[in-house]
Symmetry: C2
Subunit: 133 residues, 2 copies
């Protein structure tokens, strides 16, 4: 159960990513699965990291930012200034996201107005057509 090691395919199925993606992350030093012969074997640690990676992506972090954060998580075993740094980066990211959200909201509002206008015109056309019959 929850096998100690997963093959690349099992990882892919579990996290809905492609093998290419996992190998790519490896070249970016985001993952470093054990090697048995040529095969990659992903440990519990790799799974935890991948989970963090994917969450980071949802947060809008770049892979490079994620790499730095993971590095901090590792090195910062002994909770030191690293945690503070990670924390600050994350707060920065949060404010970026909130700004993004505000812009998106604004765009949505504008677009809705446009749509209302369009709907009114379409409505007029329908009435016109109905009246013409």
């Amino acid at each position: 159960m929850t096998d100690e090691f997963l093959t690349i395919r099992q990882m892919c199925d579990a996290f809905e990513v492609t093998p290419r993606t996992l190998r790519f992350y490896e070249t970016k030093e985001l993952l470093s699965p054990r090697r048995v012969g040529q095969k990659r074997l992903y440990t519990r640690r790799d799974r935890a990291r991948l989970k963090l990676i994917l969450r980071g992506k949802r947060f809008g972090f770049s892979l490079e930012e994620i790499r730095q954060l993971l590095e901090l998580y590792d090195i910062g075993q002994g909770p030191e200034v690293q945690l503070r740094t990670t924390y600050d980066i994350a707060r920065q990211r949060l404010s970026d996201m909130e700004r993004q959200r505000a812009e998106l909201d604004e765009a949505i509002r504008e677009l809705k107005q446009q749509l209302a206008w369009g709907a009114a015109r379409l409505d007029e056309l329908e009435r016109g057509a109905a009246a013409a019959e």
Copy 2:
């Protein structure tokens, strides 16, 4: 006042874009300024289009989508099925944006939780340090 024609530089200053951008839009058939000799001259129509283009970008439309919409605006002088099409595309876009916003909200919530956790740990560290003195 509001000169009939604008040079490329005036356009750039007015809309905060670079010359490269305007020429790029031209190759993408989003704009088609008059030519006097070699120089480009932008008319009121071009300005209106650029305004729509930039708004479209804020909405998250791709340039290609914007091109199609502009085409519809043009051809659809006589309000026909075109308006309906434009309307539908825009509604589709709106739903995309709302989905996007939902995801962003979710990510923000998660990140905030993480931050709360981080803040708690930092707090612990401070207390520990204070107690140790």
